[in-house]
Amino acid sequence: MGYIELNVLNNETTTVAMGIDLGTTNSLAALWQDGRPVVIKPDGKNGKIPSVVQFPGPNAIPLVGGKALEQAVVDPRNTIFSIKRLMGRGLADVQDDLAAFPFPVTENVRGLLQIDVHGKPMTPQEISSLILMRVHDLACRAMSGNEVVKAVITVPAYFDEPQRQATRDAARLAGIEVLRIINEPTAASLAYGLDRRGEGTVVVYDLGGGTFDVSVLRIEDGVFRVLATSGDTHLGGDDLDRALIDMIRGELSEQLGPDELNDPAFLQAAKLAAEKCKVELSAHPRADLHLMVPDRRVSFRRTISREDFEAAIAPLVERTLDACRLALSDAGLTNSDIDEVVMVGGSTRVPAVLKRVEEFFGRKPHTELNPDEVVALGAAVQAHVLTGGNRDILLMDVIPLSLGLETMGGAVDKLITRNSTIPCQSTEGFTTHVDNQTGIDFNVVQGERELASDCRSLGRFKLTGIPPMPAGMPKIAVRFHVDADGLLTVSAKDESSGATASIEIQPMHGLTDAEVEGMLEASFANAQADFDARRVVDLKAELETMLRVTEKHLTTAREHLDPESLTDLEDAVRSGKHAMTLNDPREIQTVRDGFERATLPLAALLMDSVAKSALAGKKLDEV
């Protein structure tokens, strides 16, 4: 009671929200501080958290980030990386990736991907949630206990509905409230503050660790409109590394057999060596590609020139430009219509990439901000907007892929076409094909192809309860609504009876609500340690507020309190301050509860005086 009343009087509650770039290779969080977005850099490091999770044993707490990455060579079987590639996908979608994964990926009967970790199946959503928890934890610490549970999370522009949904579910599992899911290139243009340029057309070229996206944006009067997006979900820094890995594997193919060349530990070591070499080549004309796996008697050393590397990656760079052409053509524009080009993603540091992009667009791209941080910074800007901090910016995003229903002949009836501004909606009429038909089956699909079998099925639903009528008589209106996060809801209305039905689509490669709830329960039971740490942060934040408010009011209210209450309260303040140095949540909780009791008389006094001033000058019968 006492605490709640004190909180009523405390108008200083601030809503803090973070921006999270949940990347394939690295993840990063940024917060709005002192009028600008700032990347959270724990321990003075660069703030990047490798999107890697390692599971040391069946019941051990998983390692996340740099510590997990260090284990990649030692324990490749239980070190999960590039999990973003598996989010919301089915086994058939990720065949290309499986060869590069030293951990086994399977699909359950519902089409949900699973990774077996020490005998326990883990979904990509759960593994991503561990990365998000780590990011969140760092943000909480950066805010010194201030509660940061809301976030804007970015996804590649090409992410389809199940992939966006999977991202949202991962956040839910991590205990984060998602304010909005936005496209990475869109976030990047927010970070560069391009809304301030008044009017212009911008291309965002984002070559990240695992994905390539290009977006064409139109900016007018602070409104961002994505005109078109294109890209390749399988093109990024990982593929640049793979060009070097293939070089190593090619040269070692005489010394080593195929089993050894595909050995997980070997592949991990090769990946690390390739990455290191690539980074050096961005700054130097030549670099060593050096690989040693002692227990497999492999030692490889070669000097790679920038020219060698550029020749090896040239086809990859050209593929990015093909996607740029497609995006421009979708937007109905040509290279010369583009006013600015923004570079995003660590791979844009590669000089060959920068050079070709500059040639292609005929202008110098923006590289002022750290290309690794741009997306997280922009997400923090949007988080600031969504918590009411800024009404000047309005982001109008588009849906990347068309949504439709399968028709009788197996074709697709598109209800919402790609690049429609979200939120959006569309309604389509359906009817029965045989007399007295009381149900219709629908298959919801996403994609650009003409045949439903070539598109991604998001799920099926059956509309039942149609009154028996001659074929063609019933009028069923099916309505698609895509919300501002790009997530779809479907509802149907029988116009003859007026009955409406909201349809729960069984997600194809996603989690049901019940599964998310179940995982949440399980994770709370397992991760007592994490929970305790969070609780300590929460309790201290709460206690700090209570202390501040109490001390503030105690100076004026002191003489109105009875001596006994005053002594109790002063004792409580002392033990409260001491509790700020403790680390056991139970101890802090006890102090907090005692503090709350001690503040009751003060709270009552304050409430009383508030009530008196509010009612001053009114007669009793007017109250």
Binding site: V223, S329, V385, L386, T387, L394, P423, Q425, D483, A484
Partner: protein, 210 residues
């Protein structure tokens, strides 16, 4: 002009009030012209439409209601979706004409499947050019023929819309013969769009296999 139920100011759009900022629940209004406060007709000032989209978007976008509670946020979602849907119809010549033909009680594409007679002979020629280009070698005469075909199709499309515009200005009476002719012209545009899409993908294939 309708007025705001909250502050009685005149409304530019039935979805929200520019004066007091109130979001307004609209049941079953699907006339895109009404949602944009514009007179129903073929001629449309594209600049004005865009200006209204941006101005109205600022009044009701869910981003500004993220902290406003579920009911307000959902209404903002619905109204912005309705606004965007209406904009997509109005900004697209085909969809705008299609909407007008339907609203005037004209035939749908399943009621009237024909294209204008004069158009049919050309269609056979064009289909042949596209067929020949499929599987042809880069740089061959078949592929070069696509450039000319693209220009022809685009100019045919432009001419079709001139005829459509003339038939829709002023708006024909419900039930008049003009509506059937409009539907046939629209069917021709649908064909042209499909052919242009295919042409684009054929050209892109060649661009990326260079």
């Amino acid at each position: 002009m309708p007025e705001c139920p909250a502050c009685h100011a005149p409304l530019e759009t039935p979805l929200a009030c520019g004066a007091c900022g109130a979001l307004i629940e609209v049941e079953g209004e699907s006339d895109p012209f009404a949602l944009f406060g514009l007179a129903r007709g073929w001629e449309l000032d594209a600049g004005e439409l865009k200006k209204r989209l941006l101005r109205f978007g600022r009044m009701m976008h869910p981003d500004f209601y993220a902290a406003a509670g579920d009911a307000a946020r959902e209404l903002a979602e619905r109204n912005t979706a309705a606004l965007n849907e209406a904009h997509d119809v109005l900004a697209n010549d085909f969809r705008r004409a299609d909407w007008l033909v339907r609203a005037l009680g004209g035939p749908t594409e399943s009621d009237e499947r024909q294209m204008p007679q004069a158009f049919l002979m050309d269609v056979l020629d064009w289909n042949e050019t596209l067929d020949d280009a499929r599987g042809a070698a880069p740089g061959s005469a078949e592929i070069r023929a696509l450039d000319e075909l693209g220009e022809t199709l685009s100019s045919e499309r432009g001419e079709a819309f001139v005829r459509i515009g003339a038939l829709l200005t002023p708006l024909p009476d419900p039930g008049s013969d003009a509506l059937g002719r409009l539907r046939r012209e629209l069917n021709a545009v649908r064909y042209l769009d499909r052919a242009l899409r295919e042409l684009k993908s054929l050209r892109l294939q060649h661009a990326s296999t260079r």
